[in-house]
């Protein structure tokens, strides 16, 4: 490789681009608002990114196989409602470990949805867009029916305390951020499954020919995606302190945007565990900073669109 090629590939590296963008935003915002670089604000950005990051990681698993999960947002809502309902039900209170039980119920529901998505996509070869659009409608109906459309309030304080936990002086969200990235990194880079995921995303035919169980790998990607989303939903429920039937209304697209902005390719097979992290921080920083310097929500929306387009264009040059 020539020096120029190396320079080029360095600057097109998604992590580098993301970090540069983050640095630029930080510089810009901190020039405009002294609040930006305060410890409290940085801490907030990190804590807030952790939720989006989990959803972006979830979406990334599917994006790596050249799919989407449009049902993610409604899955988040459904899991939130189910978890909260189990927590407040007498049955949940009575059981020995209500929090664990509720979390398991929520996760179970998520896994079921993921299984349905995965089976439909992998076994029938239907387009993931259609499949997840269909399940999106179905899950939405389930969520609003189960909850009657009302928030489920009154979850126990111990459950809410989950989101305010400090471990070794570091808030649980930062741990989540780190651990989830590490876990995803291990999964993608060190495990056989992760390797298969990339191969399937890069060239499904080649992967099949080389003995990779392409269908299984694809189906599992959807299951993992939903499970991740379910996990995020439970944490988010602990944070809001209620089961919310519209909790994930706008999360699907936000998660895809974060993954893509961080450098997960929409063409499959490219992007690592750091991408959702960077994407989530970038998007959270963007909205936090614009809030601080008092830019209209409308303009924020325009800026978010622009950032996504820039990220896509860069991805295009990377190809």
């Amino acid at each position: 490789m020539t020096t120029m090629q190396m320079t080029r590939s360095f600057f097109l590296n998604s992590a580098v681009v993301g970090l540069v963008m983050i640095a630029l935003l930080l510089a810009g915002f901190s020039a405009a608002s002294p609040q930006m670089l305060t410890k409290g604000n940085i801490y907030n950005i990190l804590v807030q990114s952790s939720y989006l990051m989990i959803f972006a990681s979830a979406q990334s698993m599917v994006l790596l196989t050249r799919g989407y999960d449009l049902s993610l947002g409604n899955t988040v809502s459904l899991v939130s409602v189910i978890t909260a309902m189990v927590l407040v039900s007498p049955w949940g209170q009575a059981a020995g470990a209500p929090i664990l039980l509720a979390a398991l119920c929520g996760l179970g529901a998520a896994v079921l949805i993921g299984g349905l998505n995965g089976t439909l996509v992998a076994a029938t070869g239907l387009n993931p867009f259609i499949v997840t659009l269909g399940t999106m409608y179905i899950v939405q109906a389930l969520g609003s029916t189960v909850s009657g459309g009302f928030p489920v309030s009154g979850v126990p304080a111990q459950f809410m305390a989950l989101s305010r936990l400090d471990v070794l002086g570091v808030p649980v969200q930062i741990w989540t951020l780190g651990l989830a990235t590490l876990a995803l990194h291990m999964l993608l880079k060190w495990s056989v499954y992760g390797r298969s995921l990339y191969l399937v995303g890069a060239n499904p035919t080649a992967a099949t020919t080389a003995g990779v169980k392409t269908r299984m790998v694809t189906a599992m990607a959807y299951v993992c995606c939903s499970a991740f989303a379910g996990l995020g939903a439970i944490l988010l429920t602990a944070r809001t302190g209620s089961g919310e039937p519209t909790l994930g209304a706008n999360l699907t697209l936000e998660a895809i945007a974060a993954a893509v902005v961080g450098g997960i390719s929409t063409q499959g097979g490219r992007g690592g565990a750091v991408a959702p992290l960077i994407g989530a921080v970038l998007i959270t920083l963007l909205s936090n900073g614009m809030d601080l310097v008092q830019i209209d929500g409308y303009v924020q929306q325009i800026c978010l669109g622009m950032i996504i387009l820039i990220a896509l264009t860069l991805d295009r040059f990377r190809r």
Binding site: Y43, Y51, T240, G241, E244
Partner: protein, 329 residues
């Protein structure tokens, strides 16, 4: 319009409601920093709130910053904004919650941090807030119902109503229906059906069309602002001049329709006043002179007279040329 008080309110004290007056502050002792969270400023209802907040903050000379979450689907964003406010060391937080339950964690955090929180417009019941001000949606329903009963009695008409109160699960839509039912109780007004639905104009349009179909006998539409935007045209088009229209709540557009005598009336909740009161409450809470009874209930106003005075209008709605402002500075 600088002087809006004293303003008649109801206060809650030990579960008993008593009539009282809210006395606005003259000014703040210091340029306090306060933070306001609203679901969005994407319609003229929330524009009115924005107007009230900003004007009152300017009047009192405090530093107010407004954050909008971008819509009712963005609860996580409002929770984030709440945290951002907490850590930016503001003196008080005003919030019109997307969901009370959804912000319960945030309210707790604010209490722990010792930052006073005021809830306004969107009602809260349990949350540990320093003060709250809102109109009971239920009362708005009652007002509308009572008004119809009166009109019906006066001109001897028999109203058959279909209600379009808004999205199911929002809480306020259900409350309004309850109130409405109470208001018309015992009269010869019948509530044929209630059609819940998203408050988009296109969605309400098909709901209205289908309802006119399902209930040919219906002759009164009671619903949200988008419902009425849609209904005016539909009713006009099919030439049903026997169908009357009543607005569930007030916006500048509804007022305009009233002035054109397209609708019978609207029930305004003094959006601007509520916002102003909320700001005053915040300052009171900061300065430590919060009245013992800290839950204020603004009685909604039934507006049925097309000739409303301009001064009066500014208690309900933003001026026509008002553009959203996010900071009082």
């Amino acid at each position: 319009a600088e002087s809006w008080g004293p303003f008649p309110v109801k206060v809650q004290r030990e579960g008993v409601e008593t009539a009282s007056e809210f006395q606005p502050l003259e000014s703040a002792t210091q340029p306090w920093k306060i933070c306001v969270l609203v679901p969005h400023v994407k319609d003229s209802y929330w524009l009115a709130a924005d107007y009230g907040l900003i004007e009152e903050a300017r009047r009192l000379g405090i530093d107010l910053t407004l954050y909008e979450a971008g819509g009712y689907g963005n609860l996580p964003r409002q929770v984030n904004q709440f945290d951002n406010c907490l850590s930016s060391k503001v003196d008080a937080i005003l919030v019109a919650p997307i969901s009370e339950a959804g912000l319960s964690g945030s309210f707790e955090k604010a209490r722990a941090a010792g930052i006073p929180t005021i809830a306004f417009i969107n009602p809260v019941s349990e949350a540990p807030v320093a003060g709250k001000v809102f109109t009971r949606m239920r009362t708005k329903g009652v007002e509308a119902g009572n008004f119809l009963v009166e009109v019906a009695a006066a001109n001897g008409s028999e109203y058959k109503v279909v209600g379009f109160p808004g999205a199911q699960g929002s809480g306020w839509a259900e409350a309004a229906v309850e109130g409405f039912q109470e208001g018309i109780q015992g009269s010869n007004i019948t509530l044929l059906d209630v059609k819940f639905g998203d408050t988009g104009v296109a969605e309400q349009l098909s709901l209205v069309e289908d309802a006119l179909q399902t209930y040919p006998e219906m002759n009164l539409i009671w619903g949200t602002a988008p419902t009425i935007e849609a209904a005016i045209g539909v009713v006009d088009e099919i030439g049903r001049d026997d169908v009357s229209i009543m607005a569930e709540y007030g916006t500048r557009e509804m007022l305009r329709l009233l002035q054109q005598e397209q609708i019978m009336g609207l029930v305004s909740d003094y959006t601007v006043v509520q916002a102003r009161m909320a700001v005053d409450l915040a300052v009171m809470a900061i300065e430590g002179n919060m009245p013992a009874a800290n839950a204020f209930d603004v009685e909604p106003a039934l507006i049925t007279d097309p000739d409303v005075s301009t001064d009066d209008i500014l208690l309900h709605f933003a001026p026509a040329n008002w553009r959203p402002v996010f900071s009082s500075k």
